[in-house]
Symmetry: C2
Subunit: 428 residues, 2 copies
């Protein structure tokens, strides 16, 4: 991964970072890197995530699911138990990975009705084995297989912690079982079985994903000037300190749309703490130039726009046309059009002094997505250090979980009582 921070400099953008400020920031990066490197060495909770490219065994995952014979995979998980896996298969161009990561009954019914169940493997993922949405969906999926006369036990793989209801179930039914790695929060687990099982079941090269991640890991160093991942994380924090409270994340590749969703969780849940944290706003290039660009150029100067693209791709020529006014497209390819729009958008933001950062990978493929996943995790860990937040926890979501449990009759909770006391002000 390469990063170009030219359009985040104070000479170009407002807010922007001066070169002198970057030098000062680099001293902070050096300190943060020491903490991170020590955390990796000692496999400290959270920091251990950055060891996954080394500690995950692709062949081990492939062996575990070798007997799962399927043309499609249905992942049942939510948050970090789904986004990483979907990111990987999307980048691989794999269309037969479906995800049930919501508890919307109409959607569940439509999805299950559309699948060829005898040819579809089920991939259930929950560290605790008790995640309400995941277990509820799994019960629904199991029933759908049974109703269709299809034996789910022959085509289900489980990724979970060492103990818990899912581990017990996998044991009782003799299901292939993969471990959620120790010391790794869900949103940092894409480079483990949590993110790689669907790709492995569908015959993709999981090892290549890890190899791409290892290349990124080898760039980690004590200076933002030598490490693209740290450069991204450091500049994002520097801009946030100067008022860029939103990170508009815009991949110019449809196959990276799930990566933008994965980034949104990583960034929001890791850094959204103590009144800090950039709000990730997901978009897609070039499509959303026709949707968000007006605001990004002419709105407040409270955003950094992250523009992400691949520098190589399978291109496709635009056929010649005799349509007047379009002749200029005639010699171009779709890829050249996409690149022209990328660079035009980048420059148009700079012309409005709106800060933006260019991120490039060679290709959207197994290696490329491994590189991106690791690099943005490292960027996020660095950002957390610079911001002084607890990167690896998510304490603010517990309140809602307690409330939902209470509402569903698991016993009255203080939080459920607060839900019932809502201040209503309805406009009919």
């Amino acid at each position: 991964m390469h990063v170009d921070i030219g359009n985040a400099l104070a000479e170009v953008a407002t807010p922007g970072v001066s070169e002198a400020a970057l030098e000062r920031l680099d001293a902070e990066v050096a300190d943060a890197h020491e903490t991170i490197a020590a955390g990796m060495s000692n496999a400290v909770f959270g920091y251990a995530s950055l060891n996954l490219p080394e500690t995950t065994s692709a062949s081990g995952i492939e062996r575990a699911v070798a007997d799962v014979d399927a043309d499609a995979v249905l992942t049942v998980g939510i948050g970090g138990s789904a986004l990483g896996a979907r990111t990987v298969t999307a980048a691989l161009g794999e269309p037969e990975h479906y995800v049930l990561d919501n508890v919307d009954p109409e959607h569940a019914t439509r999805l299950l009705d559309s699948l060829d169940l005898p040819r579809t493997a089920v991939n259930v993922v929950s560290r605790s084995g008790t995640t309400a949405e995941t277990l509820a969906n799994f019960l629904v999926v199991r029933e759908a297989y049974e109703d269709a006369g299809v034996d789910w036990t022959e085509r289900t793989a489980v990724t979970t912690g060492e103990t818990g209801p899912l581990a017990d179930l996998a044991d009782a039914e003799d299901l292939p079982t993969l471990a959620v790695p120790e010391g790794v929060p869900g949103r940092f687990s894409a480079l483990s079985a949590v993110g790689l099982v669907p790709a492995a079941i569908l015959g993709h090269d999981a090892e290549a994903v890890l190899a791409g991640a290892r290349e990124a890991r080898d760039t980690l160093s004590g200076s933002l000037f030598d490490c693209p991942a740290y450069a991204y994380g450091a500049v994002a924090v520097a801009l946030e300190r100067r008022g860029a409270h939103t990170n508009a994340f815009v991949p110019y590749a449809e196959a990276l749309e799930p990566f933008a969703e994965w980034f949104a969780q990583l960034w929001a849940e890791s850094l959204g703490k103590e009144g800090q944290g950039q709000t990730p706003a997901r978009a897609l290039g070039a499509t959303d130039q026709h949707s968000q660009l007006q605001l990004y150029r002419a709105g407040r100067h409270d955003k950094v726009v992250t523009l992400l693209r691949a520098t190589e791709r399978d291109d496709r020529a635009i056929p010649d046309t005799d349509v007047e006014g379009l002749a200029y497209l005639g010699d171009a390819t779709l890829g050249e059009l996409l690149d022209a729009e990328f660079e035009a958008t980048e420059a148009s933001l700079a012309a409005a002094r709106q800060p933006n950062v260019r991120v490039e990978v060679e290709r959207v493929d197994a290696r490329g997505v491994g590189d991106l996943l690791f690099s943005f995790e490292a960027a996020c860990v660095l950002a957390g250090e610079l911001m002084g937040v607890e990167t690896f926890t998510q304490p603010a979501v517990e309140w809602g979980k307690n409330a939902a449990r209470g509402l569903l009759g698991a016993g009255e909770t203080e939080e459920a009582a607060a839900v019932r006391g809502k201040r209503e002000y309805r406009i009919e």
Copy 2:
């Protein structure tokens, strides 16, 4: 559509709006409504959009495409020429509407390879008939049909302005042609042929969409206290004035995910002007509780969270389980779980004094999506009046268009030269 603004009140949230401030705001709403009503009466550019539920003829659209015999539709358009149509078919639960609204060559190839072209209609949409992305894609699509030996002229419908290359083409090939309505910007055109053709080709009830929109139009009045759409728009502006610079838009229904994208264009492109405008951050409930909620609760108080749900749906029981710790789910349905999470999230935001607004429709169906589309358009027009911006233009996107044209060889432009002068600062 109903709106509950209780959690946007100053007694609950920071920022928040006091009841006294709401009363003062209502005087501004009354003035704005006069402008809007006059604009509608005189079919003034932009305001004319709010007449579409009356002026669009569903039967006219249905007649125009009656001879297009297809099981699937491929829409070729971008921005407002695609998002509305996709929003409508998604809300109708129609899986056979595909959209080519990007110029990503790998995606175009994958999509075209996956379609059964003899059974797929093509729906090309561009007001000017010269939109670069749309015409480039249409040329690619045409070639794919020809390569497959399928006559595209028998299954293509065109929606465009009165003149232009697409109108000429439709004339030459005798294609069904629908008019982009006069005085209606793309992002406000969902309730016209621009948004309804794919649904009509696939046999859905376009008239029911318009009927839902008419119900919403009948609520327009001079007071936010009597009109849910105006209540939403007014409270959003009041919160923006008090620092809520992001609008996190969270439907709790997978079938409304495209609606959130449509909203993001509407809000960003209409209101993102002169250093103003909320940044739309799209999310999806309940899924993104496991992604964004940590930030929304514990981050800056610079957001309003819009929580949208249907109050009726086709539900699905969660099968009984003997799994310990999940017994509390046993008597519930997926819908009850979803509602519990909706209300828990809403209350958890309020407990953190983060402002949020509840929006409800009866069902996600033709009537419901018509209601939502019209209501949010009206909310946006009102917001634009209160903010004093030019709601119906998007001047900031021209710079990038000129740059891209220059880069592709349509003749050197000042903007293209600026692209070539980029300030580089690469971290390798």
